[in-house]
Amino acid sequence: MLETLEYFANSIVTVLFLPLWIILVIFLNSSMSFIDSKKLTLNLSLGGSLFSIVFAVLCILYCVSNPAKTVENNVLWLNIGTPIYVGTFIDKLSSIMLLITSIFMFFIQLFTYRFIQDDKYFHKFYIHLNLLAFAIYGLILSSNVIQSLAFAGLIGILGYLLMIFKSEEITSAQAAKQFLITNCFGDICLLSGSIALIYFSAIFSSAQNLALLSYSGFSFNVDTLYSMVSEPIFCTITLFVIIGLMIKSLQFPFGGICFKNKDISAHYFILPIILGSVGIYLAYRLYPMIIISKFITTSIVIIGLITAFAYSFISMSQNNFKKILINIAFAQIGVIFMSLGLGLYSSSALMLINLLYSMAALLLVASSVTQAVNNQDDIKLLGGLRKELPLCSGIFILGSLSLIIGNNLQNNLLAKLNEFGNDWIIFTYLIVIFLLVYSSTRMYLLVFENEKRANIEVKKISKIQYSAIISFLILAISFVFAIGNNFKKFVYFIIPEKTVPTENITIILSIFVILCASYIAFRLYVSPFNLFTQIKEKILSKENLLYKLSYNEFYINEILEFIGKKMLLPVCKLINFIEIYVIEMCVFLIAQTTKIFGTTAFKLQNGNTKSYLAHTVTILTLVIAVTVLFYVYSSLMGV
């Protein structure tokens, strides 16, 4: 039995390359007009995901039966002095993440079919999804840091391609440009960090410097390097990695770069969650590096907390149903990042899985609701939908609860925050919880409660949409309540996570904050307390500084504009000036001088012998005169 499981674990590369074969078949299917079957495309994609699920389960079984063992298969990619290998690496973290993402991809492929079946880009969309599956599986199964970075880069490219899926919109093009450039900057930071690791390992040990980046023994190698270099150097290297991770996991203010386009259908909104999760997964893989120094862990906690605070704050000012949800998702990614800094390796993995499923369910609710109300997604114009869409409203409450309970009220998280011993951090975290609950409640109340604020006809939601939402919700809740407790025993701990006894006061405080937030939201948004709403709207009016601060594009646009216009543009202008007025001018002057000499020489060549004689006499006279003058001058000086 064990041998069979090992055989499957060794053959995991099939899972990686299967999406590529599926893409080929879809491409042929779409190219040949006599086949062109959409069902074939769908079934192939689903089959690929099911195949991955089966393999992931087998890998998990192998890891359970062989807890201390990992499976690694490599081939040579590049030989530059020391060889760089690419291959697959199976440990418990990768096998469980493979399972989670396979299930996620399966449901995405299944449920987006209905939304996109009449679209002319149907096959293209499924090709994108399969490419995304390839890139995600590649990242999960990577055997070393360089390979992971390559696949993370590929996911960034696919994100960009998904953003320019329909490239007609100028805003979409601009947003995509910002996204890819920022993403590229993140890649360079991560690559620089990795190369710096190689550099310092090359200084201290002449051989095997690239083997350092392999995941088998990564923790040990990083520890060894840390003991050899001074802390400031190590922290500088890690800071590069942290900046890269910040961009990749869409920490503040980088979250805004991936959802600026006007087209806000469901698949665009799945993208930021996937991208954020990719960044967090990379952080898991580089965990030994980021957990080693107190300075770095504190930085991560602060970055995560700022992200959580900023995006929960931003979500308050939004009126678009899906944008509020995305900001909440970014805030939760910030919380997960923070928990990594607190040393909660497995709890944060659980939080990530919960976020993936809960957010998928909530976004599908949002999509279904907006479809039902004729694509109206301004929550100010909605209202009273609970009676017409009761299942949606119920699922929305359950999804939000699963997210808050599963992520924000994690026992270990609250305990570690206490242990961290900084009152400001606990206080800020409580504000985050308050803002998240407030935003969720406000959104629920404005969409589902009160009376209708606009005359919109509500269509029925199909069973397939409901089944999609419910599937994700069940997965989310089951992860929170059923698997949650056993999960910690299951995941491979690079650094074992101790269960810290939670102080009841923090839990009580958190629950109190949640109740307060819900109460205030009720007071503000349920009639007859419209006076409060008006006050609140006044505070968040567009002219107000508070509105600007709570407007996501403000940060990223200001930063990019500052870098582009204030820093880069003057340098470009200066260089252009040098190019035109110095370099080109030199060439011009040389050419002109040559021309003058040429013209003069031409004029001298008039064919008249007397003229030549005259020129010769003139030149000779000049030479003699200069010589005589020089002689006289030197004689006088000598005297």
Partner: protein, 518 residues
């Protein structure tokens, strides 16, 4: 293996060119084009056979052959011989030359509408000249082909370019010739001083060397810089880039592909073969200066590219900026950096050729290269956009494409450098990373502003079937698909299997670096 003749490989394009120009060949544009295309494809396959039978572990030259004239050497009395041969480095450049020339000939179908009878022969003569440069084993033979290249290049820029192409061609030839004067000076000094030491008149690259024990360092440095100036105009290195830059801007797309894809490599190859191979001690001393020049090249050209409004200028500045990275890799004085530089030359050539092809396709349909007038072309030229994505992403150095492998190897080479102080290397590494990021940003801006967004109303007509102008009716032609697909496949192949190329010249580079260290 006997059927592989290096002389046939080098001279067959020139012979075919003469045949095409001769009165015996029918004066029919289609026949000329098809014959040239057929020949260039055959030539490329033939060059691949050289790779197939090449032994990468061979330390010296392979396929050596001397061209004799009635049994005697070229200029026998002066010890100058027409000796050809290929090692790992020259072989990859020979194949690349054959590949890019083939694509330039294929691309000519749509882009060269006038004077077809002389376009194809000129390209083939240029191919012979470039192949001669890469396979010459004698310095004067090298110089002969180096100067021979100027004639077809001048005519190619002059005859099919824009309004200012005539002055650009003159500028290119004069500047190149000025550089060649330095080259000739360096070669003559090297040749005669080598004779004074050994007493043997020879111009064979293998037998020429300058040792610190015999010649003073300043004297060696003088000859070294004579060579460097000659090659710097071709590579190019800022501030000697202006001729190459103007020539690329004012040429038609296939010619720009040749300029950027072939001729710029000649400069890099020259630095490796002469500056590095013949003056290892001087190179070792001046390596930091080369790295500084490389850094300036990158930052100068990328910042200049940001402010350009002409997409052709952006592409040519991108190519020149990437040459800075090549210098950085060479200056690192490590095997990894050296291999990375050669790999980058190959990768950059293919990417630049692809970008020029894209620009050519756009110009053919829109009659403009001004970035502000172009927008949303992806809507009317969707296939072009898809190829554009692959080539642009490769230019940006993103994973699974050739640019990533090239950048990665060079950056590794830089940080593993032994040059003191270490702070210098760290600074250069940071500059390289910044340069890579900026060049990625500027090339990406080009793609984004050209292909994405909403298309302007006058360009919507590109898809209009009722349009009377045949050439504008199609968003892309089969010829363009073949050229762009070949380039896209090449960048993908190099990105996924970089070792397949590195293995070819690894032994040769190791020998050169070992020689330097000794």
């Amino acid at each position: 293996m006997n059927f592989l003749s290096i002389l046939f490989l080098i001279f067959s394009p020139a012979i075919v060119a003469l045949l095409l120009l001769s009165p015996i060949f029918p004066n029919n544009n289609i026949k000329i084009r098809r014959f040239s295309k057929g020949f260039s494809i055959t030539h490329f396959i033939y060059s691949l056979l050289f790779l197939l039978y090449f032994n990468p572990t061979n330390l010296g030259w392979s396929y050596q052959k001397e061209l004799t004239f009635f049994g005697s050497s070229w200029i026998n009395t002066l010890g100058i011989r027409a000796n050809f041969g290929l090692d790992g480095i020259s072989l990859v450049f020979v194949i690349l030359t054959s590949f890019i020339t083939m694509l330039a000939i294929i691309a000519g179908k749509r882009m060269i509408r006038t004077k077809t009878r002389i376009y194809y022969p000129l390209v083939l003569i240029l191919q012979t000249a470039v192949l001669g440069v890469f396979s010459a084993k004698d310095i004067f033979l090298f110089l002969f082909f180096w100067l021979l290249e100027l004639i077809p290049t001048y005519l190619l820029i002059n005859q099919w370019g824009e309004k200012t192409s005539k002055s650009a061609a003159t500028k290119y030839v004069i500047c190149s010739f000025l550089g060649s004067m330095f080259l000739i000076l360096g070669m003559l000094i090297l040749y005669f001083y080598s004779f004074t030491i050994s007493g043997v008149l020879t111009a064979d690259i293998e037998n020429l060397s300058m040792s610190e024990n015999v010649f003073a360092m300043w004297f060696q440095a003088f000859i070294f810089f004579c060579f460097l100036i000659g090659f710097a105009i071709k590579l190019p290195i800022v501030p000697l880039h202006t001729a190459q830059f103007t020539a690329q801007n004012n040429s038609i797309a296939p010619v720009s592909m040749l300029l950027s894809g072939l001729l710029m490599n000649m400069g890099g190859y020259g630095i490796i073969r002469f500056n590095l191979g013949l003056f290892p001690e001087v190179f070792d001393k001046f390596a930091p200066i080369l790295m500084i020049l490389g850094g300036i090249n990158m930052l100068y050209c990328t910042t200049l590219a940001f402010i350009q409004t002409d997409i052709k200028k952006v592409v040519s500045l991108y190519g020149i900026a990437q040459c800075g990275l090549i210098l950085l890799g060479l200056g690192a004085m490590t095997e990894v950096g050296f291999e990375g530089s050669i790999f980058h030359m190959i990768s950059r050539s293919i990417i630049s050729a692809g970008l020029f092809m894209l620009v050519g396709s756009i110009y053919l349909r829109t009659k403009t290269t001004q970035i502000f007038t172009l927008s949303g072309l992806g809507e009317v030229m969707p296939i072009c956009k898809n190829f554009g994505i692959i080539i642009t992403l490769a230019a940006m150095g993103l994973p699974f494409l050739s640019g990533f492998a090239a950048n990665f190897i060079i950056l590794n080479g830089i940080i593993l450098s032994d040059i003191e102080p270490q702070g210098f290397i760290v600074t250069i590494g940071a500059i390289s990373a910044l340069g890579i990021f900026l060049s990625a940003a500027c090339i990406f801006r080009l793609f984004n502003d050209t292909f994405l967004g909403s298309v302007t109303s006058k360009f919507k007509k590109l898809n209009n079937k009722e349009n009377n102008i045949v050439i504008l009716r199609k968003p892309i032609t089969k010829t363009e698909i073949i050229v762009l697909a070949s380039l896209a496949l090449a960048v993908m192949f190099l990105g996924i299997f970089p070792n397949s190329i590195l293995d070819i010249f690894k032994v040769t580079t190791d020998v050169i670096i070992d020689f330097m260290k000794v």
